[in-house]
Symmetry: C2
Subunit: 716 residues, 2 copies
């Protein structure tokens, strides 16, 4: 964020207050300290004055002007209201003096030894629309900013949105529109809108404050009164003492170098290779061979001289020449020792299939293993994984089944079960993949390492990830932000709900934060969020086919009026905009379709039409630059059978592509079972097509839009 | 509703006021009339008094006690505030006199000729939580009641719910909990809850009022102040002049008799039968023959003596013997004439495949045709349809393709395209059906006719309907309510959204009402609402397999921890309750699973377990009466391959069934493509099973729950 544009911020004043608090080992700042920090960051507050006794409180009130509020000043009282430390709307000298006495007594009663440093006398705000601006420290993503309407809205109705700090004024404005109560801020029934610029400044500067001073754990401006001409924070609460989440991160160049060796290994060692069918160490060697991997395969087994036709070695260190990857198939207890040997051998990555680590409570064993790996300069994938696939190298470093259908989607999963679903779905749905990676316990290699590799991997066009937790939210956002500008990144965050998070906690010990913070992080990162496994798989498949939309105008061309209705419903559900068809284009469509068909949007060519009508209508839409995307509805008839439709679409689309008219097209085909063949035909030609379905094609198109909008590929 | 339980309602007083309004041709009632009607229905209002001049207004105010409100009394002013006809919070004699003058002047200025009959002086309410209770007249469902929080909540945030009148006090309480702002009524931060009984009484009596007096078009109690000790309506607005939507309905016995002849015809005539391939009249005869229909088939064609090997007749009247059904394949213009002949012949139903009626704007032609049909005592299906199937009779009265896989799901669609999707999906997904019916323009036979038939049809267990509009909402709710008590009814209402409704309007001219009113109607009818075509098809298939759950306790048993998390997320999304496993049962599970597996819910038996562990865990869950439903997560491993899992599940479930333990079970299978075969195997044994998916099994189970709850099959 370019803070130079904003007012000058007095960082030194804040630093001084925080130093004082640190030195006196306080986590709670007094109201005067909080006010001073706010002022230093140009956060507007009512006029005020501190007072140590009733008389000076009354004098301050007289200077400020009635009515006033009195608030206790105490380093030992965090929630002032709970301690009887706040008196509002005091209208005269007598009331102020009385209130001072009451607050002093309450403070004493609340916590006998509590410090009492007088009160802050504050002008009562003239009111306005009440909002809350807060900052907190999320265990995954660090500093996050919450915004919502005040009163019952945020606390009872949970109408709150989040942003990752720092929040630019532009992002703050987006946040305002994300809450349900936005119309209240924008003005209803003749009310003027609030001063969004002032409010965005408040949000942005609070986010700057916690970014500049990570030791600030929480800021709570509650309420802030927003009016058409400004925004004033009536109360400020600040808690300090946050501890930064330090995680050792290699630099990008070294990550990429290691991942390159991992994905394009010249040689793979299998530690614990076996000659006995049914053993993991057997399956790994078998899959490397059967998958067609072209590099060198070295089985390591102290007791055998040959395994599956390959010479075996007693130890990784006995292998002649360099080793890029070592796949582990030995019990957990022996892993650390073997990693040490790998380190001496210069192995880039240890692929830890073995379980028996943190996932069964053996956290110490895992921590010790990782300490050895770090000292040995070996990166670790897993433990507790199925392994990984990289199809451009025909590399199946896994105990599952070989998978070799090459394509452009790279998938990863934290769960082995989900990994197997990826393999099965990809095979069954002809989804070509570049990589399938198991991350399991994620003791080291993480989604952000994969992202760094995929960013520069010419074989990967779309990235799909199943995660149960993110170990380092900022590293993830940082990597995803860069990658998602060029390639769609789709993430399924499992454990979204309380029931799901509980299940995740007992599964991998992953502790989920507030799910809305993930929403904020994914938005910031430009990531497309899938809510279900079905969506993750289907969208990644579709996004590998779809070009990037150039604008928001979606046009539905349908032979089935009923499909047109369902496709329209789905467009609303998924936030797609049905284009308002300009009169000249509308007239052109009218010429093609029967008089009882419907122009507008959907274009309903009606069910009885021959192939030529479909063809002309689709051609017209493809050739018009104002149409940005097409959703086709096909109805199986004798006049235009499914494969005739599929072929004509392919023909028109090829024409369009040749003329440079490349647009996302999705299709819904309703009819008898022959539509399934037509769908396959269309998908082989880059058009996601769904039989008996009207929601899924639109959901897939919407995923393409979500990416295009978030990546900045499309001018909104 | 048993109004006898409530206070005595003074119907005569209301009737008198409405008669007076009708006689003076007024649609707006004055505030005094509205207040009198409210009092007659025991709707609490503040103390008041009418006054014709300033002095008597002041006297009334003195009697009532300050502060007071003044409201204009005028038959010509509906929205009093807009006309400057309301003055609030008047604190003394002077202010009341001044306000009277102001109101008189404003009323004159607002509408020069407007009647001015003085003002109503009303005690100011002491306040409370502000709610809105409204009644309106929906074109589809008649009298509906709206409830929401007042102020910005209902109007700006659209936090409103609906109920069909009459609304019982019990249903009113449900409505309260349906709004997002419910916590505000229930009490937050130490507030007492409002008096829900009093509020339910208000909602219920407003609904009784509009039910008793259908000519009341609108009632608007806004605001109503709800407090912990009562509820008072501060303002009442009543508009009269609603016209009842009268639609001729045969009685149930005659509907069933006709539908019986239609679905089990002894003879079918094809009017416009053809010998020429490609013609609709050819396909219909062909499909009747190829489908294997066992009754008599009579082609009707004035120019041919024989068609497809059958003797043809010049007219339906020339056919010897009785005809139950006549399928039409002639141009629209000739339909009415042929219906008249059918009437003379005693045909029960005319199946109107021909298009060219209302759907292309020829509404008059359709109205004229229906008039002939009514006069001829012939029921009409369509026009503009693909026809219908009834598999128990191997009856394919359609120009599409024969469909003969018998089963227990009856489906109907308003759109031909959706009908074809039903045929294709059913065939492709081995969904046995009893009937597939096209309703098209629904000029006569409607969903409620089908429901009456299915209710007593032993071949139908589940009913699934695609609708774009409902012609007679009350008849639908009435029929569905009775049927849904015994058989699940699933409805996809297309045109849910504004974009979708617009598309529906240009497609069939169907005008959609407020979508939330459909929600209310479906809830009232006990109908399961599907939001997408995919859900309609999938849920109807699943509900044909699933037994009715006996309670809310869902248990997840999974081999894949990752699936357990995703299944848990889906349970939350779909409103299913993960059972809190009792300690004894938990201990029993712990004995079966490895120490690092997870008990609780999900039960995670972990991925490396042999078939026996799955078997024991599922058996334990099946045999425990406290577990009501099971969601299984399977992970493809070498130790327990997919078909081994499928067979063990079938075995344990068979054991359970033999012992009387019948529970809904759904399954999510993740793994390589072999899981698809395992899913088919499970589905043939009544267990909806989904490969590579974790949301769909839960969505299907949730549909079973929705039905069980709404039908009253399950004690909540």
């Amino acid at each position: 964020m370019d803070t130079e544009r904003g007012p000058a911020l007095n960082r030194a004043a804040v630093a001084e207050i925080l130093t004082r608090a640190r030195e006196s080992q306080r986590s709670t700042l007094t109201v005067t300290e909080a006010v001073a920090i706010c002022r230093a960051y140009d956060l507007p507050l009512p006029d005020d004055g501190a007072a140590k006794d009733a008389a000076s409180a009354a004098a301050a009130a007289a200077r400020i002007g009635y009515p006033v509020a009195l608030k206790v000043i105490s380093a030992d009282i965090s929630h002032k209201s709970d301690a009887g430390g706040v008196k509002l709307n005091l209208k005269n000298d007598t009331d102020v003096r009385q209130a001072f006495g009451d607050i002093a007594a309450s403070a004493k009663a609340y916590a006998p030894g509590a410090a009492f440093d007088g009160v802050l006398v504050q002008a009562m705000s003239a009111g306005g629309r009440e909002v809350i601006v807060g900052a907190s420290t999320d265990p995954t993503f660090g500093k996050v900013i919450a915004f919502g309407l005040g009163g019952i809205h945020a606390e009872v109705l949970r109408d709150v949105t989040f942003g990752l700090a720092p929040v630019s004024p532009e992002r703050a404005r987006e946040m305002f529109s994300e809450i349900r109560g936005y119309p209240i801020l924008a003005g209803t029934r003749g009310d003027e809108p609030v001063d969004f610029e002032a409010l965005a400044g408040v949000v942005s500067r609070v986010s700057q404050l916690v970014t500049d001073f990570p030791e600030i754990a929480e800021v709570d401006l509650n309420p802030v009164f927003a009016t058409p001409s400004g925004a004033v924070a009536v109360d400020a609460r600040i808690v300090v003492g946050a501890v930064a989440n330090e995680r050792p991160r290699p630099d990008t160049a070294s990550i990429v170098a290691t991942m390159q060796r991992t994905m394009h290994p010249k040689s793979v060692a299998v530690i614990g290779a076996s000659a006995e069918e049914g053993k993991i160490g057997y399956s790994v060697v078998r899959n490397l061979l059967d998958g067609g991997y072209g590099g060198k395969i070295y089985p390591v087994n102290p007791r055998l001289a040959e395994i599956q036709g390959l010479p075996a070695f007693k130890s990784v260190e006995d292998i002649p020449g360099d080793i890029d990857v070592a796949v582990f198939a030995i019990p957990a207890a022996f892993v650390a020792g073997a990693i040490e040997q790998c380190g001496r051998k210069g192995v880039a990555s240890a692929i830890l299939i073995p379980s028996g680590f943190a996932e069964i409570g053996e956290k110490q064993l895992q921590d010790d293993m990782i300490a050895v790996a770090r000292a040995s300069n070996v990166r670790v994938m897993g433990p507790n994984i199925y392994g990984y696939y990289y199809t451009p190298e025909k590399l199946c470093a896994t105990f599952c089944t070989p998978y070799t259908e090459q394509g452009s989607v790279a998938l990863s999963s934290q769960s082995g079960g989900v990994g197997m679903a990826i393999v099965g779905f990809s095979r069954s749905h002809n989804m070509g993949v570049s990589a399938i990676v198991g991350l399991g316990n994620k003791s080291d290699i993480d989604e952000d390492d994969l992202l760094e590799f995929y960013a520069q991997d010419p074989n990967t066009k779309v990235i799909a990830m199943h995660v149960e937790d993110i170990k380092d939210g900022r590293a993830f956002v940082d990597a995803a932000k860069r990658v998602a500008k060029e390639k769609p990144v789709i993430v399924l965050k499992a454990g979204r709900t309380v029931q799901g998070a509980r299940a995740a906690a007992s599964h991998t010990g992953a502790l989920a934060g507030v799910d809305q913070v993930y929403d904020a992080a994914f938005r910031e990162a430009g990531v497309v969020r899938a809510r279900t496994l079905e969506d993750l798989l289907d969208w990644s498949r579709a996004l590998a086919m779809l070009p990037t939309p150039k604008g928001e105008n979606v046009l539905i061309v349908t032979g089935a009026g009923g499909s047109g209705v369902l496709l329209s419903d789905a467009c609303t559900d998924y936030g797609l905009k049905l284009m308002a068809v300009p009169p000249d284009l509308d007239a052109a469509f009218r010429e093609l379709i029967p008089p009882f068909g419907a122009s507008g949007n959907p274009i309903d060519i009606t069910g009885g039409e021959p192939p030529e009508t479909y063809k002309k209508a689709i051609r017209l839409a493809l050739n018009d630059d104002r149409v940005h995307s097409l959703a086709l509805g096909y109805w199986h008839t004798i006049i235009t059978p499914p494969m005739v439709f599929a072929r004509l679409v392919a023909e028109v689309v090829d024409e369009g592509r040749a003329a440079g008219n490349v647009k996302p097209i999705v299709a819904s085909l309703v009819g008898d079972v022959e539509v399934e063949e037509a769908c396959r035909f269309l998908e082989e030609r880059g058009i996601p097509a769904y039989p008996y379905a009207a929601e899924r094609p639109i959901a897939a198109l919407a995923a393409a839009y979500q990416w295009a909008r978030r990546s900045g590929k499309m001018a909104n």
